[in-house]
Symmetry: C2
């Protein structure tokens, strides 16, 4: 059986160096070492150092590990919001974050646009009492991006609010300016091309201060994965509980591989492949890009509406060639497909995909 | 360099079939498949089926996955305790669970005995208002076991309280009777011999009812990993967030391997190796078992006090032979060592260890 090749939106095709790193991990017995050993501290240090380089994370920001981005939503709300978070909602994941706030008995607000649409400058006016603004920089369900240039505007207009950015399915593509971001997070099974089971959370001292303030007011900010607990352990390159040690090891290795290629090269290639794919979709009688407004089109998760053929037929057509594309989110499954454009997806693989689209 | 062999208390030596399963996982592209695919549902189903067989889990109990046992402490307190949990504390981990309850603003109580000691029948009398009794069946820090025959007594004396059992470092050894247990949990990097990053939580309908009751009273029971959310997804062999897919795949494979060997055989071998090791420690002038009372001695995590030589010297002596033993917990590092006796540790490896003890 020929190997399948995954263009899914995450979990996705593993970064091409991962199998070799896993073999080395078995030889180094990474799965057996203590998470309190200097060997583990070395892996932690290496992963955070390579991430700083890859994502240009300044020393003002700390890096800690959780188990998923969903967990980070919960921790952010517990640690950084007493009552009022504001969520930019334009798809299933930004909506879910807003729902988490309700489940935690906060009083969240939202700025909402329809599925497949993005935000414009007029949406950036928000109420004064907001403690945390939640931006989903790349809505994985709808393939819509939040323009990076809006982040400094949000910061400027709301100097007291924490700005938190969900970059789950866009990292390592965007060139973030962390001076306007208090917290940013992602999970590793998307653009980083790693097996699922690890979340990465980047946060500054304003988040710590907020957590400490809430705790001093008598609120519970959680237990082992509260911000103070995560940071206390991270200061000595450790984690509060036994973490996904193999995941942290692999993250460091893959980030190092990506740094060897260079963040800027990855960015250019992503732009090139995205332009190429959107053009193919526009030219095909079988597809049309879901997102009309070009400025809002995600470069890393491309969502297409299916015309003439059903998504099931389309996915089956590609599957016959061992190319696995993503289905639309939830009920959009019956109308749409998703194609990931991550660093592991080579230009050659995209050429093949486009050839197949043209040959439909 | 010769491969090291880990007798540490977890993470520990991987079950000897794990490297092959990981190679197969790479071939099957387990790291790339969607967690909403039927392929993943198959892995989920397989893992829970094999666990039911291995641990003799009845249909009255559900199985869900979290990221760690620490997480399960937090989820238990959020979902099953309004105010009053009671914790049997005799080491660092049972103590931490009690502290989690304080951090979550509950009013926990504890029954405490000194480090290295176990509980006796006189400790089983507990107050009437307790909602959840937390038993650490195997205290990994001190190597002390809670006698299994006390569990039905606890249940009988406290029919309204939920009985929850921490079996983190004893599974799959104990032959639990689930009729007296409402919730039991473990993490996979101990006796199951897997890479860290996955918690397994077994729970019955009484836990669900309690969670629903608390939610109906207006309390927050968390978000994506609340009991209702975990069970809703588990009903279709899925998880609320993208899980450690590789971990769940490997768990199923290793549980299947263990079932092929048979739970009873594993139990007998564990007893044999434990008896052998405790005798060697008692006979050696360099060691003495920390736990005096034989009934309380853990079969799976054996803690020894070091005499004449420091623990650092002892660990270095074994490390020269590529055998990695565990250090004592926290500040006990300067007095004690720990030796794991998990299913992957063969009788032959224990014979070698004992030979080395006798040759000191």
């Amino acid at each position: 059986m020929a190997l399948k090749y995954y263009f899914t939106h995450g979990p996705s095709e593993l970064y091409f160096t991962v199998p070799d790193h896993i073999k080395n991990a078995l030889n180094e017995k990474v799965g057996s070492i203590s998470h309190r050993s200097s060997q583990f501290q070395g892996y932690f240090k290496h992963a955070t150092k390579q991430l700083r380089l890859l994502l240009n994370i300044p020393e003002t920001h700390h890096i800690v590990f959780t188990n998923s981005a969903n967990e980070i939503w919960e921790r952010l709300l517990q640690n950084c919001v007493k009552e009022h978070s504001l969520h930019f909602v334009n798809g299933a994941f930004s909506k879910k974050f807003h729902e988490f706030a309700i489940q935690l008995r906060k009083s969240p607000q939202k700025v909402e646009v329809p599925f497949g649409e993005g935000f414009t400058e007029k949406h950036l006016e928000i109420p004064e009492n907001i403690e945390m603004v939640a931006v989903t920089q790349n809505e994985t369900s709808a393939g819509v991006s939040f323009p990076l240039e809006y982040l400094p505007i949000l910061r400027k207009n709301n100097p007291d609010a924490l700005i938190t950015v969900d970059a789950v399915s866009s990292v390592p593509y965007p060139n973030f300016d962390f001076s306007g971001i208090d917290s940013l997070y992602f999970s590793v099974q998307k653009g980083m091309g790693l097996p699922a089971g690890l979340g990465v959370w980047i946060l500054n001292n304003r988040c710590i201060e907020k957590a400490t303030q809430l705790e001093n007011e008598g609120l519970s900010i959680g237990t082992y994965h509260s911000i103070p607990s995560l940071l206390k352990q991270a200061a000595s390159f450790q984690t509060p509980a036994t973490p996904n040690v193999l995941g942290i090891y692999l993250l460091g290795k893959v980030a190092e591989d990506m740094n060897r290629r260079g963040a800027e090269v990855i960015r250019q290639e992503t732009n090139y492949k995205a332009a190429f794919m959107y053009q193919a979709l526009e030219n095909s009688p079988y597809f049309e890009p879901l997102v009309q407004e070009k400025q809002h089109r995600s470069k890393t998760v491309i969502v297409a509406k299916c015309l003439q053929k059903t998504p099931a037929e389309v996915l089956a057509y590609f599957a016959k060639k061992n190319m696995i594309l993503g289905s639309g989110y939830g009920s959009y499954k019956s109308e749409q497909i998703r194609i990931a454009n991550f660093p592991t997806h080579s230009k050659e693989s995209f050429l093949m995909l486009v050839d197949l689209i043209e040959g439909m």
